[in-house]
Amino acid sequence: MQRPKTTRFQQLTAIIGNTFREAIRDRILYNLVIFVLLITLAAVFLGELTAGQEARVIVNLGLSSILLFGTFISIFVGVSIVWKEIEKRTVYAIFSKPVGRSTFLVGKYLGLCLTLTVNLAIMAAGVAVALIYVNGAGLIWPMLAGALLIALELTIVTAVAVMFSSFSTPALSALLTFFVFLIGHLSASLLDFARGIGSASAEAIFSAIYYLLPNFSHFSFIAQSSNGEFATLQAIGIAIAYAILFDVIFMSIATAVFSLRNFK
């Protein structure tokens, strides 16, 4: 009897689900223990040190930690996600079935994004509980808006990691992804700096970097969140569009390179 043919969407959801389960089995969520300890300690001890500013510090500390933990997971899981399948030769079993390489790669990417989103949601809930503990419930919504922007930033970092992992070794991919993360946060400042020193060549180089690589300042709203400010709908809209654009750009490169690879 012939088995019914699966649609591309079904294949995609199956890969997303498997990637998510695999990440959970790899104990990715263990980082939450450290995060919870950090935030709990901060909530308990910051009162004395900050003269009534503990809610603000918890938002800054919480969102900065979410960004840091999220980035590390994006980089280290993202760079090994494809490499592991090739190394364990499970990729051959998958490609012997009617699964496209782009479906496989996009599924892997979205599975990791799902893992990161769950991770981030739990961490944001932890920060919210800490805020309630220090009577700073008024900062919960601005904090969640800040967390949303971080989530968008992490989708780009993950796409970069998956892109590099599609043609490079995990160590080199991790290094290159970290550089993109670093430059993405500094590109606006570096361009200002180059304009300030008046060097035409430096300005040209940093302008190229500014436009070719993602500018993560679109997603930096941590300090504003700690002051109770909301990101405007326009800023969130631009950030979402910007993230989707770069996700598509990097995943297009990744699928193109991955499709050309010879697995024989």
Binding site: L49, T50, A51, G52, Q53, R56, V57, V59, N60, L61, L63, S64, L67, F181, L182, H185, L186, A188, S189, D192, F216, S217, F219, S220, I222, A223, Q224, S225, S226, N227, E229
Partner: protein, 298 residues
Amino acid sequence: MRPIRTILPSVVLLVIGYGLVFALQPPPAAHYPITEGETPLLRGGMLRGFLLGGEGLAADWYWMKALQHVGVRMGAATSDTIDLDDLRDLNINLLYPYLDAATDLDPHFLAAYSYGAIVLPAIDRDHAIAIAEKGIRENPGQWRLLQHLGYIYWRSGEYELAADAYSRGANLDGSPPFLKLMAATMRSDAGSRATAREIYAQLAQQVADEATAAFASQKLAELDKLDAFDELDRALYEFREQNGHCPTNLPELTKVLLRGAIADNPQFRVDSSGRFVDAKGNPYAVQHEACSILRGSN
């Protein structure tokens, strides 16, 4: 299970290793001695944009350093009483750089502006004005910062400028009516103790950060103390007028004092041994030659 002695060499090495590390490590204070003219390693403006989104956290770090700096200097003060109107002798020279760095990194950090505007006038008037002006520039809708600027000018006796700052604050949306009142008071009765009491009472109630509110409360306690001195002086004068001599001890004044407002003053009470003491339990003393209360006695 393998016998525990198999891991014994590792445990011994660990203990010896950490013992040596502890011996080699200089005491923490030696790392960061507080020296004259010390400034933060990097100015906040230089760091902004280079901290991977952690500017807010760095601003908090500078804020905590500022509070710690003031706390350490206040704690190290040798004199029993600290003059909150003049803290220059305490060498709190890093407060402005720390607050400046914190507000460079987070220009909307209102607590840092408030604290600087309230404490810096006792150290450096120009720095106090600089931090308040910076706050107003970065947060043009915040009437509290104009209230603080008015306070700084009032402190330095520049009543017209203070009135102007209060008026500007009163014109902002959401500002409370007392700012208008303060602007008028600056032009008519700026130097009175009642004005000072109003200013500090508003600060103690309005500000969001505990450090500034605590400072304002301390100032209110000082004003209560001045009121207590005046009330005791008045009682001494009345006693001398009635009896032709200064009382030998303050409890002799009880009858006169009971008629005055001092009974409600938190800086005046009678302790278990019948002495007149302030809120901290320091006794008031009579200066017999002048027949007045000794100011420096507590």
